[in-house]
Symmetry: D3
């Protein structure tokens, strides 16, 4: 059974698309075809509510144009536009924050999140509540490396995140680390070895969850809240989104 999985990078930086595609391939099953995709519109990285909101049209365009995928992974830790993408896709769409947190919750009592910018810490806590895991999240820690700099010097990135992860475990008394940015893909194995606790990357976690749903034949319900949106006129530069 061949599974086609599209990993959408919701920002417009191609090198990050390459990174998350590679990470997804690493854990995907032998029969799964992974394709990374980059939007044609929107911000170069996502570091505010403003960026997050303006990343959604681009990722919806990708989802609407891809009729072949069996499932989608949204590779931004804010899970932007997740419900809108589910409406547009009528196939499984997995956000990496939801995937990482729910996976970590299977492994122990509590996890700590290590993320990028301080101003997104509140948003990460919001997501723990949306997913029912506020009690299992023992702390959210921002290393304040801007998203696009994560790739620039991987050794430094590794060192900084290792250091934040160590102090998070000590301070929070937690059992696991969740990496709070798609740009941290590629780090979990090294970190797991070093830290002695499970380190969960959302891209990997979302990839195996998406495959699992496809293998079980599960899709969102076609009626109710996530049914395809009612068609209507759209104006201006967004007119392509109407029907």
């Amino acid at each position: 059974m061949t599974i086609r999985l599209t990993v959408v990078n919701p920002n417009t930086t191609q090198s990050m698309t390459d990174l998350v595609e590679a990470q997804a391939r690493l854990v995907a099953g032998a029969d799964t075809v992974v394709t990374g995709r980059t939007p044609t519109m929107g911000p170069a990285s996502i570091e505010s509510h403003y960026d997050e909101a303006l990343a959604v049209p681009g990722l919806l365009e990708v989802v609407r144009a891809d009729h072949d995928a069996d499932a989608f992974v949204l590779a931004c830790f804010g899970d932007p536009g997740l419900d809108a993408a589910r409406e547009a896709a009528s196939r499984p769409v997995i956000g990496i924050a939801e995937a990482a947190m729910k996976t970590a919750s299977l492994l122990g009592r509590s996890f700590s999140v290590v993320t990028t910018m301080s101003r997104t810490v509140g948003r990460a806590w919001d997501l723990t509540r949306t997913y029912g895991l506020e009690r299992q999240c023992a702390g959210v820690h921002a290393c304040d490396i801007p998203v696009l700099e994560l790739e620039e010097d991987r050794a430094r990135t590794y060192a900084v995140i290792l250091s934040f992860a160590k102090s998070a475990l000590a301070q929070d008394g937690s059992d696991a680390i969740v990496l709070g940015c798609a740009g941290m893909a590629g780090l979990p194995e090294l970190l797991t070895d070093e830290l002695g606790v499970p380190v969960v990357d959302g891209v990997a976690a979302a990839t195996v969850l998406a495959e699992g749903l496809v293998r079980m034949g599960l899709r969102p319900s076609t009626h109710g809240e996530l049914a395809p949106p009612p068609p209507k006129t759209y104006m201006g530069v967004l007119s392509q989104f109407g029907r």
Copy 2:
């Protein structure tokens, strides 16, 4: 003290902008100048997560272009893009769902929401949780009149909403009604007289709250989560949103 208040209708239908502008004027103080604004891009009405996400660029464009307003009202009951708008505005931005629910919570133990489409009921419950009012919200009831039809036959709209409000009060044992759509502006006074309980319209509620914040000299903090977003490149048809 003159207060300039901009009421943003996040969909692209001008007649709805006119309606909400009129409603805001009705309750605004004598010294307040109310201006309604319509976006140049996005959906004709908001009836899904998809529509809601795609309404946000248009409303952010309005907020960014309006340097004169002392405060903004977002006139859609889903409060789309509220945090992004607060980042972009650096001035008070009040969503009508938050305004209506918090106002109703000052008047009694519990309220019922009467809204438009069934598929948005879950979203309304999400908002009650975001605003800490899930316990005071006794029920959410959808009348399933599409948003743009609310205006077509005001007598029928009034009759249907009156009927839903009556059964909501009886079924939920609640003390107040919250109208769950900007397109219901104009109805609260009639309904209050008929029902004998307070009926709260979000546009009116947001208008007086926004004025109050301006009179007290309160603005969002300029550092922290709602500080102006970090400038960066935006691609494609959304390139105007970058810097």
Copy 3:
């Protein structure tokens, strides 16, 4: 439209009534007539559950005797007797804790409360839960200045509260300050300028909320939990409260 607003100081100290009356006038609309009132019975200040309970008869006497007010503000941060006053008034009654917290919640992710006595900290947390804002309240900090000393040396009061507010913002990572005592009215503007975050005084916040409700024509429901209390015999020194 003239609005008559009565600000009830629930303790028996006239100078505090003068203070809160002045603060309300500062933010009230041009057409609003503000009257401060002091009870004839009860404690000189409210600093325990015991004081709070025994302040309620006095404030209820004020409310029952005032047939002209369109709305009432209860100027004690514990919101004592709020539901009882709503039953007795059949008009809007706004407590300053509820007003301050709900106003702060419109401005950012979280607020810190700076209050007077340590023994009231738990009570402040109870109120955040009653109003659904326990998640948005990031901390409650007691400066341990007795209520009536707040007025004695305003410069010292200002300095102490400024210092507590600064450390609260740093420690809690919050976006706003809520002043946790009616006796702190008059300070918010100075503090806002100094701290760079919104500082919310409950007397001001309750004043604009009460005006807003009157302008929208909203009153508590006349049936249900807050209907006028069933008449009955009262004994002893409280016999005036019966009918």
Copy 4:
């Protein structure tokens, strides 16, 4: 070891004091001396927030005057003035709502409350939240017999409450009944036999809890929130409460 237990009826109706005193005696240990007391001021019965607030001065007067009691039972299901009484007493004070609900929670998954007036139902739910038992309370059902009529025709009272209890168990799928008024004391044994589930009366439950605390030598802490209130001047007809 002789235990002196004072049962305070917070309303001014002597026959209800007699009833609750008798009920407490029924379950008290052989060495316990039970004394019922009636306040000299306040309402004849408690059926609103207004009555409840105005019952508190009378019960505080009783508690302050009684230096012999080892512990107090507050015999009104709203637990009025409980924290104030604990401050004034420096000895255990048990409210009958807290006692009944916590006792019922030891016996099964969930309980239903059968209470008097519909307008107090919301207050009963508030108490379940205060005591952390909102999940175990499966329903609150008002029989709408005014408090003082409960005593008038005990056979009718029994029949009505039996009928409400039966339908509560069926409708809520609960395992136990909590009687929601001190005036229902005396009914639990009959009801338990008839219904086949435990029926908990708060006066009985509070009596054995108060005795237990005395036998274990436990009293509220003398510092912190429930320490004796700071002495101060009281005005007018309440001047006796000051020091």
Copy 5:
């Protein structure tokens, strides 16, 4: 990469072990070796807290003896002994209730559980709270077919469960069905086709989750709460569990 997965049936009925082993095979990847195991001690089926507690020694014996498995699935919807098994295994252990509920939560707003005996409904709600999904669980419905009868007449079982699932969806307004018993394995595909909503079987869901954890190289932390239990003497018929 070959993955060895052990599916433990915590009751002692071999035919149920065969059923869950077959269901796990159906969704497992090509390289996964699935082995079903039956305990040597304990109840023939699990239908009470008593049965559940007494099933745990048997399943722990299986887990302790199996050194080859990369991960374990616990095939009883009460997830009995899950934390104890994690301590004993030091490898991933997935309970089918946790797996089914977390999988359903990826597909829509809410799910309904269809389970076996009425007396386990409260336990199912407890699990939704343990896993943070009490809000997404819209209802728990018991069909009252004893566990071992589920297998006797598969056509009747299918018909009864289909009927309960239909009424659950209608009554709860939910988007998905969770099957609340390991003995319902084998039904989800048929039901999904008939109902038009996703139907999640816990054995399938746990199988793909367990595989995913192994592929990502994730194991529980070896220190902290789920570390191997401290060795000690065990008495009597359980002496084999000591060291």
Copy 6:
């Protein structure tokens, strides 16, 4: 009225049974006959989920064999097998964690727990949630003395626990101490005198609660979730538990 109370020590160490029996006698009424019982199977002490699960068969054997007891106390702070024991007993069964926490909640705003091993801290927090007291529990502090060493040097045990209790009160700002292990019975009186706050031992608290239920004639409902378990075959070394 003679009350027969059985105190079950769920581990197999006789000296701990003697200790808890003595503590129960200290607070029991004059007419109560207290009997301590030790299981014939299971772990010597309970310090992990694994130990806790494997202690349950032994305690259920004790409960099933004791037809004379009017009520049972389960003397382990994890309250292992509580619901199973209630099904097996059809009489009141009180766990010492539930008893201690609910008793402490009657005395002030918050309590701190002082327990034995760090790895059980998460479990103690789980219990606070099960009993609805997570808000009143201000902290859980592990002294990391293994359970069986508590008895070895009572002076050292007293000193260590006193020290942890002092720092818990200071750090948590709490009003009371809950002792988190049956092996700490005998210490509360000394500690109460030294600390000036109530110190609650679960064995004492459960003893007076169990007596109270018996005196009120209350038993668990004989239908519903805690009804006697359905009889069935049990296999292997646990075959005695079947019927």
